[in-house]
Symmetry: C2
Subunit: 389 residues, 2 copies
Amino acid sequence: MKNNFSLVQTLPDNAARAGELTTAHGNVPTPVFLPVGTQATVKTLTPDELTAIGYKMLLSNTYHLYLRPGMEIMKKMGGLHKFMRWNGAILTDSGGYQVFSLSALRKIDDNGVTFRSHIDGSTHVLTPELAVEYQETIGSDVAMVLDECTPTGGDRDKVAAALRRTHAWAERCLKAHKREDQALFAITQGGVFPELRRESAGYLASLDFPGYAIGGLCLGEPKEVMLEMVSETVSALPPDKARYLMGVGSPEDIVGGVARGVDIFDCALPTRVARNGALFTWQGRRNIKNSVFREMEAPIVPACDCYTCRNFSAAYLHHLFVAEEILGLRLATIHNLAFIASLMKKIRASIIAGTFDVFRREFLENYAPTNEEIRISQKQKWLKAREIE
Amino acid sequence: MKNNFSLVQTLPDNAARAGELTTAHGNVPTPVFLPVGTQATVKTLTPDELTAIGYKMLLSNTYHLYLRPGMEIMKKMGGLHKFMRWNGAILTDSGGYQVFSLSALRKIDDNGVTFRSHIDGSTHVLTPELAVEYQETIGSDVAMVLDECTPTGGDRDKVAAALRRTHAWAERCLKAHKREDQALFAITQGGVFPELRRESAGYLASLDFPGYAIGGLCLGEPKEVMLEMVSETVSALPPDKARYLMGVGSPEDIVGGVARGVDIFDCALPTRVARNGALFTWQGRRNIKNSVFREMEAPIVPACDCYTCRNFSAAYLHHLFVAEEILGLRLATIHNLAFIASLMKKIRASIIAGTFDVFRREFLENYAPTNEEIRISQKQKWLKAREIE
């Protein structure tokens, strides 16, 4: 698939754009956020609930699916769409990120990565060709090349070396890729070095992939640096191809990414913080376990039209979390995903109306970002994982 | 409320009967099974899902609601129906059973029970009058009197003494009860002593309650003894009042209870075993984690029309349990509750058609009861709890 993206609206004074992604499982308006279905399920929810919220595309992780249920079962079950009964579009990562961040005893060379499963310690090999093969078995609508992720703290020489390997692997993935109903996206890297970011984007752009991801960000670097790297990368990418900022999903980062020309986002953050009781409001995140919600008869976001807010009081949600009831995790997940879906709708409508700058300013004036504890813990995990190497 | 039960069909050669329970929140066909919503939620499910399965009535626990969210919040939120957004009927127990089985440091005298919360160790008092007051605040459609539960192993004198106290408390509950839109049911006791069972039923029947529960069974005694005690109790109860066998809910026990004239059942078993991966089939329970389901493309019960079986393969459910995904707990819970709902429907239809004996025989021929591990663990817990006293 040479190109599966079309632009619907660009803006004269802002890199933000509205578009549409064409897939074998429906068309997806962009900018879009993909909920994360790590193990063939978006945690706590049914596919029907995702559809009801308005999602048309989700992400799943090749690394996790490769370990469980395994590629043999995946093949027998006719691919991931059928296995998890999701008729919308699916994007899969290549498995590389999880191999570097989750698994133990990685050995990397030009051929690929040898790693040990985080589940049972068994040894596995992942090469560019296998990453493509697994994703073709999974049958995702968008597959990603295997890349070598570099940690935020890495020095320039190391990042540049990883970049050369990432580019060679991208070419091997392109050569190995066969499925006509699946788009293979490249992943640009380059750490926090502007010229490496531009080099990576420029080189991969010359290979004419149908879409380009921006990888290796949101791993602990300051937000300003993250957004600057997005701009550097985007400046060297073709305007008519989809751009995907991997692993970014806080409301403020999504708005910042859209303003810099990003079309696709994914992140486990909205669903993960939901399960910890942190619910999105237009003023920022709120902890439902806080005693201020103990007697609140109104829903957590009174104007919200999600299933949770239409039906349940903040007091009931508070009770479910205090009593550690699973229904609380579900209702919070529904709310946070509905909040992000609503944010994406507002973003796209404002781009089409030519008022995105106004929307963005007003959103950022009202929305108080949460402090950095999660990004920092991600960074520590990441750096620790690299030390093992 | 003097009587909220009407008979629809009795059988000439069997105690089984079909009826209808009238409540302020809809009419409920009997025999009926009540899913257990311990903490104002049937674990993992929304009220809408319970309605979709076909449930019109559920049970919630006064002891748990009293501790969390507490009666002050319950009052402010306008009662349990509104709090948990369940518009069907609700039956609440009195809190007595949980006080005896869950809480620590119980002191019992003729006035009531002093106990310590299993959550924070705080000291509380429960009297017959308070049990009624709490249930009137909760606003359940059927409330239960406070009774003194006696363990299966108790000797005759102890059981007889507890019985006298239970009867005195039932009278005090009747006197304290005010809500016209709530039916107060008595609880018969008597351990495993047939004459005490008959005495209890006869005495409480003379007080003219709108319904009668059979308490203190399914606590580790052999199933034959349990069913014999049901028969003894029923023989001394008025035929025109509802009969409720508390805490009974395995498929085979439900069928056995119906055959002895029981109208209402409740039990956490179908939902609890679901969360452990044990799914009901018409041949008995199956463990979804068993590797035979790893590649099974069909649903766990191919002919089942529940949401889970209509949509998902056994292989997917197996994967969700192996990967410890919450969606698995939901889908298993839906299936088990749908199975029991279907069982109750078949039972009622066969009573009305006059073919209950045939249905019962065929059901018991096919259905292999699970071994006794759960009943035994209940018994041990129960006996241990009594030792603390």
